[in-house]
Each structure stands twice: as structure tokens, then as C-alpha cells.
């Protein structure tokens, strides 16, 4: 809560009573909104126990957790590929050779402004025409890696640039080559600094895997779609799916904040 105190002093008696009034008013507003939502659900019969009961059974959860597993798998594989690519691109952008610098720069600048869904469509509908029909899993992970590599490249570049020049100079002064200095001195320090950004970018990537919905790769969201088509509990299924995403991503985001605080 840094800066929480920026806009107000320690409240005195009058301010405290005003805060109490505001608390009551806003709590009532919030309760009113919740009541409205519940009424809307109940009026359309979406609150019937029979419509929620299935989500208390193990087979349902086993199915959804399977979907979650595929989500995680896709996210981890794309993250690994995107990070490797991103590191290469970041080093390329900092390379002393102009063609290398330009091509990596062009890649990052172009790919960062193209929607991931457009890349997914390219892999789904364009590549097969040229004889490259990837398996389902790669139809999701390849476009995600291509697009996230650009974001990771910018994160790594910022991290490398944030290391003081003296570190590189000291490395060179003790007789290490440029490559050795980079590997042994600059990268380890940079990696520590950019860890929080990497985790939050990975949360974004995990959210992007929901594009499996378009690819029909059986990750969490697509599993939800199949489930909803089968049991016709549409709103319930998607709410449960949303909650699973929320729990997983909120834990990862919390990890990022803990890392940042260290």
C-alpha cells in the first residue's frame, strides 16, 4: 500500500465519521448489485441446485483439471520457446553488427503490434496451404511463442541495459571475452532483475493459451466449451472455468509481487 497515504492525512473524528458513512453507503450499493445479480440468476432458473450439482462431482473436476493440465503444458512450452527466442532477439538488438541489430529490431517492432489471434489464423489457415500442417498442440504454441518472443525480448533487453557499464568493463578488464562477460557477469544479474516482469509476462501467456478455443486444442477454455455443449450448463461452466483461471493466475501474480518485494 505504498502511497496509500498520499492523498489524505490520518483521519480525525469528523473524517472518521464521514468514512463510516461512506463505508455503509458503498457496502449497501455493493450488496444491491449482488442482490440484483442473484435475482437475475434466480429469475431465469440458473440457481437451481441441479444446475450446479454437477460441479461438485469428481469426474467433472477430473475433466476440467485435465484441461487445466493442457493449458499449463501449452503455456510452459510456449514460455520456454518464447524466452529462448526473446533472449536471442535481445542479444541481437544489442549486437555490434548492424544487420543483426536491424533484423532483431524489426522482428520485435513488427510482431509486438500484431494480434496473437491473427498469427493463430495464419497458422490455422495459411500455412496448410503451403504444405505445413502442424499438429494441434503446435498450432497453438507456435503463434503464441512467436508473439511472446517479442515481449520477452524487450524485457530481457531492458534488464541487460539496466546493468551498469562498469560490470562489463570490469569483466573485460580481467581478461574475459565479450561472450564470457555476458554469460558470467551481465546475464545472471539481469535475470534476477527482470524475474518479476518475466512472471507477469508468463501470466499473460497463460491467459493467451485460451486461444486454444479457436484452435480446438483441448485446453481449459475449449474443454469448457465441449462440456457446455454436452451438458447445456453454459453459464455455470464458464463461471467455473473463469474461477479456475482466476485462482491460477492470481497465485502466479502474487508470486511476481513477492519476487518484486525481495
Amino acid at each position: 500500500m505504498s502511497g496509500g497515504r498520499l492523498l489524505f492525512d490520518e483521519p480525525g473524528p469528523r473524517a472518521r465519521s464521514r468514512i463510516r458513512v461512506a463505508t455503509v453507503v458503498f457496502s449497501l450499493v455493493a450488496l444491491g448489485l449482488v442482490a440484483l445479480a442473484v435475482r437475475q440468476f434466480a429469475a431465469n432458473g440458473q440457481l437451481d441446485a441441479a444446475r450446479w450439482q454437477p460441479y461438485a462431482t469428481w469426474p467433472m473436476w477430473r475433466y476440467l483439471l485435465n484441461g487445466l493440465w493442457s493449458t499449463v503444458l501449452a503455456a510452459v512450452v510456449s514460455a520456454a520457446l518464447a524466452m529462448a527466442g526473446g533472449l536471442g532477439l535481445a542479444l541481437g538488438r544489442l549486437s555490434p553488427r548492424r544487420p543483426v541489430r536491424w533484423t532483431s529490431g524489426a522482428y520485435v517492432e513488427i510482431v509486438r503490434t500484431i494480434p496473437a489471434l491473427l498469427l493463430v489464423y495464419v497458422v490455422l489457415f495459411a500455412l496448410p496451404r503451403y504444405g505445413l500442417d502442424l499438429p494441434l498442440f503446435w498450432k497453438l504454441t507456435v503463434p503464441l511463442s512467436v508473439s511472446n518472443a517479442a515481449s520477452f525480448a524487450e524485457i530481457f533487453r531492458a534488464g541487460i541495459l539496466s546493468i551498469e557499464r562498469g560490470q562489463t568493463e570490469a569483466g573485460l578488464a580481467v581478461g574475459l571475452t565479450r561472450g564470457q562477460t555476458l554469460r558470467a557477469i551481465v546475464l545472471p544479474q539481469a535475470a534476477r532483475r527482470v524475474l518479476p516482469s518475466i512472471v507477469s509476462q508468463s501470466v499473460g501467456l497463460l491467459k493467451d493459451t485460451s486461444l486454444g478455443f479457436v484452435v480446438s486444442y483441448a485446453e481449459l477454455l475449449y474443454s469448457g466449451k465441449v462440456l457446455a455443449n454436452y451438458n447445456h450448463l453454459l453459464i455455470q461452466t464458464y463461471i467455473v472455468v473463469a474461477l479456475i483461471y482466476l485462482v491460477v493466475n492470481a497465485s502466479l501474480s502474487k508470486l511476481a509481487r513477492t519476487l518484486e518485494a525481495r
Binding site: 502511497g3 468514512i19 461512506a22 500484431i114 489471434l117 491473427l118 478455443f213 453454459l234
Partner: protein, 214 residues
């Protein structure tokens, strides 16, 4: 190339929908974002908690899930709106969480003395926020807001997955008819790049205009 030029009207219609979606959603995200950011720095604990809850929830659920919930789920509880309106509102609410976070870090970047000085002159919470802190915060958040604008532009493409025919969907449709993926998808990609570079240019100009000398 003919496939691209022959279908320019269809692609242009898609581009117009993308632009409308982007501008409307950003306007909405900006307004809601300011409200949420205000709630997060307010002296009322309930409001602070509500703001945090909003940001945490919306930032951690994929936009596509929210779009699907709104487009296919809401009619099931008797809430129905036009597809375009629903998509614009969902994207606005989703990006509002990011706008709120950007604004909050902007507010936190304003030196504490500014807020203290404002209060010493007798301005209240709203007064010091509106006249002293926010104008200074806006200068530092132009760049992050520009990045959110670009992110929002790219995110409008997800509306294609729930049936809004914007640029990505239009490109896909044209490709299904013409079977000429390279010129069509490259054309759509170039359109997105141009949009982002316009945003980048505008934020650069705005940043210089709004910069506060300290």
C-alpha cells in the same frame, strides 16, 4: 495482390469496426479506470478493497473467457444486448483494470509533498486529486496508457472469436473465399501496425505536451 485489392471494401469495413471497437472501448476503459484508481487510493477501506478486487479479478481472467461469458452466458440470465455493444463493454471493463493500475502507479509517482501542499491549502481528497495530483500523474502515465491503447487495439481482435466481424475476422473471411492467405493476412497485419504506430506517435506528442517540469 489482386486478392487483397479486390477485397478492399470488405477489409475496410472490418478496419472501421476495429477502429470503432478500439475507440469506444478505450473511452470506456479510461472513465472506468479513473474511477477504479480513485477507489484504490481513497480513504474509505471498502472502496480500496473493491478497487483491488476489481483489478485482481479482471487482470487474471483471460479476455476471451470474459467475452464468451458475456456474449453467450448473459442471455441465459436474461441480459441481452447487441453483439458489438457487448464486446465493446467487455473489452472496456477488462482494459479498465490495466488503466487503473497505470494511473495508480502514476499517482504514486507524484511526490508526497504535492499532496501535502494541496491539503495544507485546504483542498479535500477530491480537490487535491483533481487539481494537483491527477494533472501531474497524467504526464507520467501517457506512455503506459499508450501501451495499453496498443494492447487494446490488438485485443479487439478477440471479438472475432465471438462473432464480431472486425479486421481479423474480415481478413479470415476474405481468405476463406480467395484462398490467398499471404497478401490478405499481411495486409491485415500492416493495418494493425499502422494503427499502433499512429498511437505511438500521438503518445509521443502528448507526452511532450503534458510533461510537468520539476
Amino acid at each position: 495482390m489482386d486478392a487483397l485489392l479486390g477485397n478492399l471494401p470488405a477489409l475496410r469495413e472490418g478496419l472501421v469496426v476495429t477502429l470503432q471497437l478500439t475507440l469506444l472501448a478505450f473511452a470506456g476503459a479510461f472513465v472506468v479506470g479513473i474511477l477504479v484508481a480513485t477507489a484504490r487510493v481513497s480513504p474509505v477501506p471498502v472502496l480500496r478493497a473493491a478497487g483491488t478486487f476489481y483489478v485482481e479479478t479482471l487482470q487474471n481472467i483471460p479476455l476471451l473467457v470474459l467475452l464468451i461469458l458475456a456474449v453467450f452466458g448473459l442471455p441465459e440470465i436474461g441480459v441481452q444486448a447487441e453483439l458489438f455493444t457487448t464486446a465493446a463493454m467487455v473489452i472496456a471493463l477488462y482494459q479498465a483494470a490495466y488503466v487503473a493500475e497505470a494511473l495508480r502507479s502514476g499517482i504514486n509517482s507524484v511526490p508526497a509533498g504535492q499532496g501535502e501542499a494541496a491539503r495544507a491549502m485546504g483542498l479535500g481528497f477530491t480537490g487535491s486529486l483533481r487539481h494537483v495530483v491527477l494533472p501531474q500523474a497524467l504526464g507520467t502515465v501517457v506512455q503506459p496508457l499508450g501501451n495499453i491503447f496498443i494492447m487494446l487495439t490488438m485485443n479487439t481482435s478477440l471479438a472475432a472469436a465471438v462473432g464480431v466481424v472486425e479486421l481479423t475476422a474480415a481478413a479470415n473471411r476474405v481468405n476463406l473465399i480467395e484462398a490467398q492467405p499471404i497478401p490478405i493476412f499481411v495486409g491485415a497485419g500492416v493495418a494493425y501496425m499502422l494503427l499502433s504506430s499512429v498511437v505511438g506517435f500521438v503518445t509521443g506528442v502528448l507526452e511532450r505536451k503534458l510533461a510537468v517540469a520539476r
